[in-house]
């Protein structure tokens, strides 16, 4: 039950009792042992199963997910539970003259109504980096969909009906729908603190850009655009708030960052931190979209107001209209190179639609600036990045924090440059790609760079397919009107926050029956990070995987280690687990030594046994031996690499390490319609040592398909501030048939000297090259360069110039037409 204060390790995964779970764990361990046996071959024996890094192990949480018992927030119910809904703004920008909730209050089943007036002014505003977003709009609404009233009732339907009865009287204010309008002199100031409607503005320059352009053999310059994207995690934001018998406010919530909500709730409710507990439930996908406040504060305030458990789940439409989006941006990119294909300068001028509140706009901007030109050497570089307020739903963080959009432009220009000077798109990247000892634009000297290894992996495939396609096209084997093309793109991506310290911690504890629990602050958001941490801990401690549980995402049991975002969990929390393991082993061996009357140095853990002098003990035997003292053993590790970029000069170490990769895509274009089919895909990644290959592959494949989605189909479309496609019906997510029939993923061999067992992390970054690769492939196939995403069929056809009313007279009826796709 949710109110159970003693939550056994691992129980957060499932709705079942601990006893039931234990039965399933037996089966699970059998499967794990099976996989280990398969992976390790003849070397494997029942008690030599300690090796776990690099094994394609199944995940504990998935056991419950395939059985339908996983504990997603909306699946949890409690006695007396009420359901909350929001009444939302129907105006993009308006003064609120009056909120009439009298009819709603009389509606059947209604228990409580919350408006901004019920919240103290100094507690009203929330936000991750700036407390600028009202939990409920007070005097003014800034976008369509902004929550104004929250209502709890006996059922979701009743709460919704009551919300429909809320009457808000508005007085329209001037609306601003583009950042260009926003920064025009005299524009209405959307945010009181932000003069000129600027949320954030960054300038970064290295070298002498103007001289480089003047001296350049080749200059490319274009304006690129991208549309807002929705995260489209399948599980909408959901949570359950209740006050337990001890008076503690509990929030079970689908989030990337429980500690953030914990801190916010303390301020918003006025309760002391220790009287609030935020526990992450099983998260049905996040991708950067679950690190802002949506239902958290409102559901907790309603639970406090009614003294009843309050469950809130957004509808899919609400997720679309009222939660953060990937920024829409427009930017000019100018690139200079020598005739020999050496890059000499890059200039970027970027303007972003930040939406109505700040959310992660600054973080996105900071990361984009630091990643400008990555992963290539640009001796001269100048970036101007500006994000402005508009009357749109706030833009926030999403997988890669904007780097994927920069890569779309940069990789397009790289491929175009290669074509101009007559070398392959692989060669241009080999000539300019980062190698060990190169410095980034912030002056950070790189090591353990595997970029060229990933290019080397892709190059033979590219050369082979290039020849094969040339033959196919040359021999007229293609269906008429269809052309194939290949596209290449690379990535370089920093692990962790940009240019600021962001430590992660871990604690390891052991029980008398031989089970070890790793408490980690960074939660698993569906990626399998708990499993990766389990594997790292098992390897570090040299014990069997089955002994380990990871507890993460619980504000009471774990330290604030930042959110699971920015690819940081494997690297940061993994390192913290390694440090904690050393501390744990020292304490553990000391305790065993005391009990057995030998020196700590004579005790060590080896292959799931404890060797005392030269006598091996089973691990659980050793634990029983020190049963009285096990509670005192807590291994602690804090990983806090020295990261600092001086914001005034943009110099310093931006990230502790970087992940790299190269992607190759083969597409087929219908020349008459302009439509693109993705046929095959190859991806080579440098993620350091791969902790769990099957998990890593899945992450890369998923990132690729997300990247294809934004490259070809996905866009949020708005008219007068209203999102016109807030459904999967009109917002086109790639399905199984749209994904390439073949995705080949390789991990190149690199060992990161600073990573846990050589690991770097890679999941998030796999989205980055996809759009750039697609753009290159379109150009390869039909000779045009789309500069805007999504690269829709109509736009491609327009660029091809085939899209005019009489073009069809050229159509031939020779040959067998292709069956419809």
């Amino acid at each position: 039950m949710a109110s159970d204060k003693k939550q056994p390790a691992g129980q957060k995964f499932a709705l079942e009792s601990a006893k039931q779970q234990a039965l399933w764990q037996v089966q699970f361990r059998q499967i794990v042992a099976d996989v280990q046996k398969q992976a390790l071959g003849p070397n494997w024996t029942a008690n030599s199963s300690a090796r776990s890094i690099g094994l394609p192990l199944p995940r504990n949480d998935v056991l419950y997910k395939v059985r339908g018992t996983a504990r997603y927030a909306a699946n949890i119910s409690m006695d007396g539970m009420l359901y909350g809904r929001f009444a939302r703004s129907q105006e993009p920008h308006a003064r609120i003259l009056n909120i009439d909730v009298s009819a709603a209050a009389r509606a059947p089943g209604v228990h409580a109504i919350l408006t901004a007036d019920d919240i103290l002014q100094d507690r009203l505003l929330v936000g991750t980096h700036d407390n600028d977003t009202p939990i409920l709009a007070k005097d003014r609404v800034r976008y369509v969909g902004e929550p104004i009233v929250a209502i709890v009732a006996e059922s979701v339907e009743q709460a919704q009906q009551a919300c429909d009865l809320v009457e808000v009287e508005y007085e329209s204010l001037p609306v601003i729908f583009t950042p260009e309008e926003a920064i025009t002199a005299g524009a209405y100031q959307i945010d009181a603190e932000a003069e000129g409607n600027i949320i954030t503005e960054h300038r970064h320059a290295v070298g002498d850009v103007d001289a480089a352009f003047a001296a350049a053999d080749i200059v490319l310059e274009n304006t690129f655009t991208t549309e807002p994207i929705d995260h489209c995690f399948l599980e909408a934001q959901a949570g359950l708030a209740f006050v337990d018998s001890g008076g503690t406010l509990n929030l079970l919530v689908s989030t990337q960052y429980p500690h953030f909500h914990h801190e916010q709730l303390a301020r918003v409710t006025g309760l002391p931190m220790e009287k609030i507990r935020v526990i992450q439930t099983v998260v049905g996908g996040a991708f950067g979209g679950k690190i802002d406040d949506t239902i958290e504060c409102a559901s907790c305030l309603l639970a406090l107001k009614t003294s009843r458990p309050v469950s809130m789940t957004l509808t899919r439409e609400e997720v679309f209209i009222a939660t953060t989006k990937r920024h829409r941006l427009k930017f000019r990119q100018k690139l200079a190179a020598t005739r020999k294909g050496h890059l000499t300068a890059l200039e970027l001028d970027i303007l972003c639609d930040g939406g109505a509140y700040r959310s992660y706009s600054r973080v996105v901007a900071g990361r984009c600036v630091v990643h400008a030109g990555m992963p290539y050497r640009f001796p001269n570089l100048r970036v101007h990045f500006m994000t402005a307020f508009t009357n749109h739903v706030p833009s926030g963080s999403m997988r890669s924090f904007g780097v994927v959009k920069m890569a779309f432009a940069l990789e397009s220009h790289l491929t175009e440059l290669a074509a101009k000077i007559g070398i392959s798109p692989i060669e241009i990247r080999k000539r300019n790609g980062f190698v060990d000892g190169d410095a980034t634009s912030t002056g950070q000297v790189l090591q353990d760079v595997g970029l060229l290894k990933t290019l080397a992996e892709i190059e033979p495939v590219y050369e082979r397919r290039k020849r094969e396609l040339a033959a196919v096209h040359g021999q007229g084997q293609m269906n008429p009107g269809r052309k194939r093309g290949l596209g290449v793109a690379c990535l370089g991506y920093g692990i962790g926050y940009s240019g600021i310290r962001n430590p992660s911690t871990a604690r390891l504890a052991v029980s008398a029956d031989g089970f070890v629990t790793a408490f980690c602050g960074t939660p698993d958001i569906g990626t399998g990070s708990d499993m990766a941490l389990t594997q790292i801990a098992a390897e570090a401690l040299d014990i069997d995987l089955g002994r380990l549980r990871v507890v993460s995402g619980d504000s009471t049991k774990t330290d604030d280690s930042g959110p699971t975002s920015a690819s940081r969990t494997t690297y940061f929390s993994g390192n913290a687990v390694c440090l904690a393991s050393e501390d744990f082993k020292r304490q553990f061996c000391t305790a065993v030594a005391e009990k057995t009357g030998c020196l700590p140095a004579q005790v060590r853990i080896d292959n799931d046994r404890v060797i005392v002098r030269n006598e091996p003990l089973a691990f659980e035997q050793a634990c029983r031996l020190i049963a009285d003292d096990v509670d005192a053993i807590v291994g602690y590790g804090k990983f806090d690499p020295d990261i600092e970029v001086d914001i005034s000069t943009y110099q310093g170490n931006a990230y502790p390490t970087y992940t790299y990769g190269t992607h190759l895509v083969e597409i087929e274009v219908d020349e008459e319609l302009g439509s693109v089919d993705v046929v095959r895909y190859w991806a080579a990644h440098d993620g350091g040592v791969i902790v769990n290959p099957i998990g890593a592959e899945g992450q890369v494949e998923g990132g690729i398909v997300q990247g294809l989605g934004m490259a070809l189909w996905e866009k949020i479309v708005r008219q007068e501030g209203f999102i016109v496609n807030p459904h999967y019906r009109d917002y086109l997510l790639p399905g199984a048939m749209d994904s390439p029939g073949e995705i080949n993923v390789w991990f190149v061999e690199t060992y990161d000297r600073t990573g846990p067992f050589g690991a770097k992390g890679l999941a998030e970054a796999s989205i980055i090259p996809a759009p750039g690769a697609i753009a290159g492939a379109i150009s390869d196939a039909v000779g045009v360069w789309p500069r805007g995403m999504p690269m829709e069929s109509e736009k491609i056809l327009e660029l091809m110039g085939h899209y005019s009313t009489d073009a069809a007279t050229s159509a031939t009826v020779k040959g067998q037409p292709r069956e419809p796709r």
């Binding site: 059947p108 319609l673 016109v724 019906r729 009109d730 790639p734 007279t809 069956e819």
Partner: protein
């Protein structure tokens, strides 16, 4: 909230009677796909649901003595797709049904429901327009046959009267030597709905010289209703496919159709797409006719 009534009907007569007595409140539900979406979107609040989904008489798929393919209004898209009778007589409907969403939707959605909805994007209306089908409705005055080419009147508005229930769809005997094809254009390969363009072509050709002697076509997603164009169909008569014919057909598509631009495509692009896929469907139908087999 007013309570909703629910009546399950077992025969067409009962359904017609019940619909008459329910009057304005009556809301017929078959597979519930379209209604389910409207309910979830809170766009309808039915006062009285008349569930006809269990009227077995409306699920038959058969060929009548005079060679008419009769499909009960309640036949699901999946039943049409997997029907041996349909496969043997009218493969166009198989090709069309395979393009409808996915199996999970086809298992509930019915051919009758799709026609009654009158959605300009729906697949079945487009194919049935090409086939010159007749819609048979049951009402208080008995049965009424409506040519499908006059059935779709305006946005989501059909010739079916509010007191009528769609009973069956009748497809006249397909002449020998015929070929047919369905072609759908969408951004993604499956599951697109709101912004698709589709074309269905049925034609027969002279076995001796290959001239088209009979042609029917339907277009979807290019106007406020599913579209049938007599002018384009007639223009194919006595011709064989050649660039000139297609150029002329393209011109007519641009003149005759008024697609509506949406958040994905402009009206002009939709016209362009319609012309291209109509040509492709015609070519394929013609090749099938010439090959003497209308199977894929």
């Amino acid at each position: 909230m007013t309570a909703c009534l629910y009546t399950r009907l077992d025969t067409v007569d009962d359904a017609v009677q019940c619909l008459a007595s329910a009057g304005e409140d009556g809301h017929v539900i078959a597979g519930g796909v379209a209604l389910g979406i409207l309910l979830n979107e809170r766009l309808v609040k039915p006062a009285h649901l008349l569930d006809i989904s269990r009227i077995d008489a409306l699920k038959r798929i058969e060929v009548t003595a005079e060679g008419v393919l009769s499909i009960g209004a309640l036949a699901t898209h999946q039943e049409v797709l997997t029907s041996a009778v349909v496969a043997a007589t009218c493969p166009l409907l198989i090709e069309m049904s395979s393009e409808i969403a996915c199996e999970r939707i086809r298992n509930r959605g019915t051919i009758g429901g799709s026609i009654c909805l009158g959605d300009p994007q729906g697949d079945p209306p487009v194919a049935l327009l090409a086939l010159d089908a007749v819609v048979r409705a049951a009402g208080p005055q008995g049965l009424r046959d409506i040519p499908i080419r006059t059935f779709f009147q305006d946005v989501y508005t059909t010739a079916l009267q509010s007191d009528e229930i769609l009973q069956e769809i009748r497809i006249p005997r397909i002449p020998d030597g015929g070929g047919m094809a369905y072609h759908k254009f969408s951004a993604r390969r499956a599951m697109d709905y709101a912004t698709t363009v589709s074309a269905a072509v049925q034609l027969a050709c002279d076995p001796d010289d290959g001239r088209i002697i009979n042609a029917g076509l339907g277009l979807g997603g290019v106007g406020v209703t599913p579209v049938w164009s007599k002018a384009i169909a007639d223009g194919l008569l006595n011709a064989t496919p050649c660039p000139e014919i297609f150029a002329w057909m393209r011109k007519l598509v641009h003149e005759e159709l008024s697609p509506i631009g949406d958040h994905l495509y402009s009206a002009d692009y939709k016209s362009h797409v319609a012309a291209v896929i109509l040509r492709r469907a015609t070519e394929r139908a013609y090749n099938r006719a010439v090959a003497g087999s209308d199977r894929r």
